[in-house]
Symmetry: C2
Subunit: 577 residues, 2 copies
C-alpha cells in the first residue's frame, strides 16, 4: 500500500485556498498510485485558528467547505483531512462546542471521524479553550490494514521518554490494544531549536515500545509568531527513521507499507530518504545556526505574504541586530523588496553610517538616509520650558528612538511596506528597548533570538553557512566585519555602549535562559556561578519590563519559551515575582 504525506502550508482561515492545497496534493497522489493521503492537523483551517473558532459563521463555512472538498477529491483515494467538527452533545452533556478532528474522506463523502484526545493547553497552546477531548481512539481500514488515527499531542504522552505522565489517557497504547497495524499522526507541531530531533527521538521510542510503525504528517509555514518546520517523517517497526521530509518548506512524499512484512519499507537512511525534497541545499539537515536561520527566513516570508505585503522596511543603525534582520528579510523576500533606512543622530558614530551602507551594498537592498538632528533639536525646543532644570536622561534617549520609529512608520504608511522591528531577546527581556521607538513594527523578527545567538548567526552567515541566502558569492562577507567586532551600542548619548547598563551578553544570556526558559530561582542561578548582585538586577529588569513586552509586535518563536502568545504575565503585580 502506498501512503503519501502532504506537508502543507495553509493560511489561517483561508479554507478555500487550503482546500486547493489538499486537492493539488491529491492529484499528485493519484498520479503516483497512492492509496492513502495524509495532511496535517487542521489542514483545512490552518493551525492555530485561535478565536476564529468562536465565530459561528466560520464554523458553518468550514463544514460546507469540507463537504465540497470531499466531492472534489478523487473518489478512490482515501484522504485524511484535519478540521473542526461540532460537538453535537455539548449543550446537553456539557462541554466545549467543537472537536479537533481528523476526517477520512473517500468516495465523495466523510467516511469516518476521529477526535483529538490530548489537548495541549500550555505555552502557545489553548486547545481546552475551544475543544472537547475525544473519548477514545479508533482506526480505519484500508483493505485489510487497520490504521490508527492520532492528532499531534495524542502521541506526546510518552511517560517513559519524558519521565513523567502528562495526561491520564495514552492513545498509542489504546490503539495497540485495538491491534492496529500502523499509526498515523496529523500534526501542527511548532518549531523550536532542537525540537525536530526531540520529536523523532520520542516517536522512535514510542514505536520501539509499541511495535507499531508511525507516519507523522506535520504542518509547515509561519503563522504569526509560530513557525512550523514541517520535517514530517516515518518510523518503521524497528524504530528506524525511514523517511524525513523537508524542513521549513512544503513537501510531498510517498511511502510504501508492505503487507507481507507488516511494516513501512524504506532505506532507514535519513539522507537518502530525503530525495523527494527539491533542492540540494535543503538536503543538509539544518542544525544550530542554520536551522534557526531557516526558521526565521520562513517566518518572515510567510508573515509578509499572508498579511498581504510584498515589501518591508527597517531601520539600519549600523548595529548587528538590524544587520541580521536585513539579511533575513533579503533572503526571505528578495533584497529588491527590502528598504533600509539610516537615521543618524549627532550621537551616531561615522562607522555606524558606513557600516550600514556597506551592509546594504553587500545585501543589495535600497537605502534611504534621513538624519534626525533637526528633529531632535525641535523636540528639545518644544519641551525646553517643561524640561528646564532637568538633566539629559532616558526621556531624551527615548525621544531619538521614537523619532526614528515615527519616520519608519511614515514610510510604512506612505508606501505600504511592512515595518520589521529588530530588537533581540536579550533586550526584550531586560527592557533595553524603547516602546513606540525601536520596538515599532508589524513583526519582531529576532525578538526570541538572544544577543549571543545574533552574533553566532552573523558569523555563520559570513562563513558561507547558507549559500545563496543573499546575492553575494559563497564565503564572502555579508555582515561587515566591523559590525560584528565593535562594541554594541544604542548610540543614544555620546560614547554609550550597551555594557554601561547591562552585564556582558554571554553572562546576561546565560542568566536569562536559566530564568526564562528553565524557570530557575535566583539562588539556583547564583549556584550556577553567577554574581548575586548581577542576577538580582537582571531579574528585576525582566520583571519591570512586562509592560513593554505586552505592547510588542508578534515575535518569531524559536525557543521553548518566547515572549508573545505563550507568555502571559500580569503587569500590575508584586515586584518579588
Amino acid at each position: 500500500m502506498k501512503i503519501a504525506i502532504a506537508q502543507l502550508n495553509p493560511t489561517i482561515g483561508d479554507i478555500f485556498s487550503n482546500s486547493n492545497l489538499i486537492l493539488e496534493a491529491a492529484k499528485k497522489a493519484t498520479v503516483e498510485g497512492v492509496n492513502l493521503l495524509l495532511t496535517p492537523e487542521l489542514s483545512l483551517i490552518g493551525y492555530p485558528p485561535r478565536d476564529l473558532l468562536i465565530n459561528p459563521s466560520f464554523i458553518v463555512a468550514v463544514g460546507a467547505q469540507l463537504q465540497q472538498l470531499a466531492q472534489d477529491l478523487p473518489p478512490e483515494l482515501a484522504v485524511v483531512v484535519g478540521t473542526v467538527v461540532p460537538n453535537a452533545d455539548g449543550v446537553k452533556l456539557g462541554g466545549k462546542s467543537l472537536f479537533n478532528s481528523a476526517v477520512l474522506l473517500q468516495n465523495g463523502a466523510v467516511q469516518q471521524v476521529f477526535h483529538k484526545r490530548l489537548l495541549p493547553t500550555y505555552d502557545v497552546f489553548d486547545e481546552d479553550r475551544y475543544f472537547e477531548p475525544g473519548e477514545n481512539s479508533n482506526y480505519f481500514n484500508v483493505g485489510e490494514l487497520k490504521i490508527g488515527v492520532t492528532i499531534c499531542e495524542d502521541l506526546w504522552n510518552n511517560e517513559e521518554f519524558w519521565g513523567k505522565r502528562s495526561y491520564a489517557g495514552d492513545p498509542i497504547s489504546d490503539l495497540a490494544k485495538l491491534g492496529v497495524d500502523l499509526v498515523v499522526n496529523l500534526s501542527a507541531s511548532p518549531y523550536s531549536a532542537g525540537k525536530r530531533e526531540v520529536r523523532s527521538a520520542m516517536l522512535q521510542h514510542s514505536v520501539i515500545r509499541s511495535g507499531i510503525p508511525i507516519v507523522y504528517a506535520n504542518q509547515v509555514g509561519g503563522n504569526d509568531d509560530i513557525i512550523f518546520d514541517g520535517s514530517s517523517f516515518a518510523v518503521n517497526r524497528k524504530g528506524d527513521l525511514i523517511q524525513v521530509l523537508a524542513a521549513f518548506e512544503t513537501d510531498f512524499a510517498v511511502l510504501e507499507y508492505d503487507e507481507n512484512k507488516q511494516d513501512l519499507i524504506g532505506s532507514g537512511n535519513r539522507q537518502d530518504a530525503r530525495s523527494t525534497t527539491e533542492t540540494d541545499l535543503s538536503c543538509e539537515p539544518p542544525f544550530g545556526d542554520a536551522e534557526i536561520w531557516e526558521a526565521l527566513v520562513l517566518g518572515v516570508r510567510d508573515y509578509v505574504r499572508k498579511c498581504g505585503f510584498s515589501k518591508v522596511v527597517l531601520g539600519l543603525s549600523g548595529g548587528i541586530d538590524s544587520a541580521l534582520v536585513a539579511a533575513i528579510a533579503s533572503c526571505a523576500i528578495g533584497p529588491e523588496n527590502v528598504l533600509g533606512v539610516l537615521m543618524p543622530s549627532p550621537y551616531s558614530s561615522d562607522h555606524s553610517v558606513n557600516d550600514a551602507l556597506e551592509l546594504a551594498r553587500n545585501l543589495g537592498i535600497a537605502i534611504e538616509l534621513l538624519p534626525i538632528g533637526d528633529l531632535m533639536k525641535t523636540y528639545d525646543r518644544t519641551l525646553a520650558d517643561l524640561f528646564a532644570n532637568t538633566t539629559f536622561g532616558i526621556a531624551e534617549e527615548n525621544i531619538q528612538s521614537r523619532i526614528r520609529g515615527n519616520l519608519l512608520m511614515a514610510i510604512s504608511n506612505k508606501f505600504g511596506h511592512l515595518l520589521l522591528s529588530t530588537g533581540n531577546k536579550s533586550e526584550m527581556s531586560v527592557g533595553y528597548c524603547t516602546l513606540y521607538g525601536d520596538m515599532n513594527g508589524g513583526l519582531a523578527v529576532i525578538s526570541d533570538v538572544p544577543k549571543t545567538r545574533v552574533y553566532s548567526l552573523c558569523r555563520w552567515l559570513n562563513a558561507g553557512g547558507y549559500v545563496g541566502a543573499v546575492p553575494s558569492s559563497p564565503g564572502s562577507e555579508i555582515i561587515p566585519a566591523n559590525i560584528i567586532s565593535k562594541a554594541p551600542s544604542a548610540e543614544l548619548k555620546p560614547g554609550q555602549i550597551d555594557q554601561d547598563s547591562l552585564p556582558a551578553y554571554d553572562v546576561l544570556d546565560d542568566i536569562l535562559q536559566r530564568l526564562i526558559e528553565h524557570h530557575e530561582s535566583v539562588p539556583e542561578i547564583v549556584a550556577a556561578g553567577h554574581d548575586e548582585v548581577v542576577v538580582k538586577r537582571v531579574v528585576k529588569l525582566v520583571r519591570q519590563s512586562e509592560f513593554k513586552r505586552r505592547q510588542a509586535a508578534p515575535g518569531l518563536k524559536i525557543s521553548d519559551r518566547a515572549f508573545g502568545t505563550g507568555w502571559r504575565m500580569p503587569i500590575a503585580k508584586s515586584s518579588s515575582y
Copy 2:
C-alpha cells in the same frame, strides 16, 4: 453561627501583603464574634496570577506563606483562604501540576483542602492551562453544620438558568446529595456591565432549586485589564438576597446562620442589608452609566497604585474621549495627580484648545501646552525628498499623532507619570486610531467603552450623576457642553470629522456590538436593519485592524467581549473571517 465575608482587594503575587489583608479581616471577625471567615478565590495570591504560576519558586513561597498565615490567624476562627495547592499525583497519573483550592485554616494549621472542579477556559480565563480539576465536592463542619465548599465557576453550571449545560459535573447538586446545610463560594468573578444582576439572579435560581442557602465572597479591585466589582452576597433558603456587599470597594460583612431555622437570617432587603458599607454614596446600587463609571474609576486607581505610580499624564485634544478619561483619572487618583497636555497643530480648531482648557479648569487638573506645528514642519522637511510627488494622506496624519505620542512619553519618562491612552472601543474596533501615536499609554482606560457610551457617561456626569466625583459642585457642568455637542474629529487634516470615514456612531456601535459581542454574521446584522455596504465595510475594518489591537495597551474590560487578554485573533489570516 456567625459568618463573615472579607471582600478583599489583593495584589497579584504579593502574598505577604495579601496575607496581611486576611489577617486584618480575621481580627475584625474575632472582635465581632465570628465563627467562620470567608475570603475570595485565590485570596492569598490575587486573581488572575497567570504565568506567575509557572514559576516554581513562587509556588514554594506560596506554600510557606500559607503555613505562616495559618499560624498567625486567631486559632479558634475558621478561615477559608483561596490558594494554589500542588497536585502530588500529577507526575504519576498525568495532569496539571496545581489545583485551584480553598483551604480551611484553624488552630494554626491547614484542616481541610477543597479543589475547584469547574475550570473556566474561555474569554479572559485560562484555568486549564494551570490547574487540574478537583474530582468531587466536599464539606467541612462548624459544630453540627455541614458547609459545602465551591470555588467561583463551580456554581455557574446551572443548566436550567442558562438553557445549556456547560460542564459535565455539577458541584451544587453533588453537595445537595451530601446533605450540606450551606454552600459557600470563593469567587473572583470579573465585572462586566450588568453582570452583578446576572450573578445574583443565577444563584437565587440555584438556591431555589437546591434549597440550600449560599454565601458568595467575591474579590474586588482592578488587576490589569480585569475589574472585579466585589458585590459579594448571601441568599437565604427561600432565595432572598439578604445581604449585598459594596460594589467596587473593599467590604466586610457579618451574617448570621440560625441553626434552628436552618437558614441564613437577614432582612431580605438589599438596601438595608448594605448598611455595612462605608459611605452613603455607594449605597445607591450603581447601574448603567453609574456602574460603568465606578468600574473604570476603580480600574484606573488600582492599575496606577499596583504598578507603583502616583501620577498620570494624558493628552487633552479638546475631544470627548480625552475629556472622559481626564475626569475618570481625576476621580480615581485626585485631580492634583493628573496632568493634561494640549498639543495643538495648525489643523486644531480654536475651540479644541479652549474646550480642553475649560475642562482642565472644571476638573482642577494641571495642564501643559506644547504646540506641534514646528515638529510637523521638521518631519515634512526630513521626509521631503522621499515623499516628493506624493499627496497628503494617512502617513502625514499619523505623523501628527505620533509626534503627540512621543511628547507624552517624553513627559512620562521624564517625570515618572503613567501615560493613559484615551481611545474608545468604536475606534479600536475599526482601527480609527494611530499605533505608536494616540494608542500610546500604559493603560487604555476606555478602550472597551463604545463611543455612544462615552457620550452617555459624559452627559450623566454633567447631570451630577456621581456627586463628589470631581471637585465641582453637584449638577454643575464638568465636561464642557461644546465638547459634547460638537462633531467628533481627529483634527489631523483641515475640516476633518470622524463621519468622513465612519458611519454615524449609533449605527457603528450597533453593528460592532452585534459583530463582536454577539458573534452575528453579516446577513444577520443586515437583517437587523443595517445597510449591507456599511456592514461589510465595518466588518472589513474590524478584521484589518487586528495588528493594531495586538500592540495596544491593556484596556479596562467592561463588556462580555473586550479586546485584550480574552481576544485572541490571528493577524496573518484570511480576510474573509
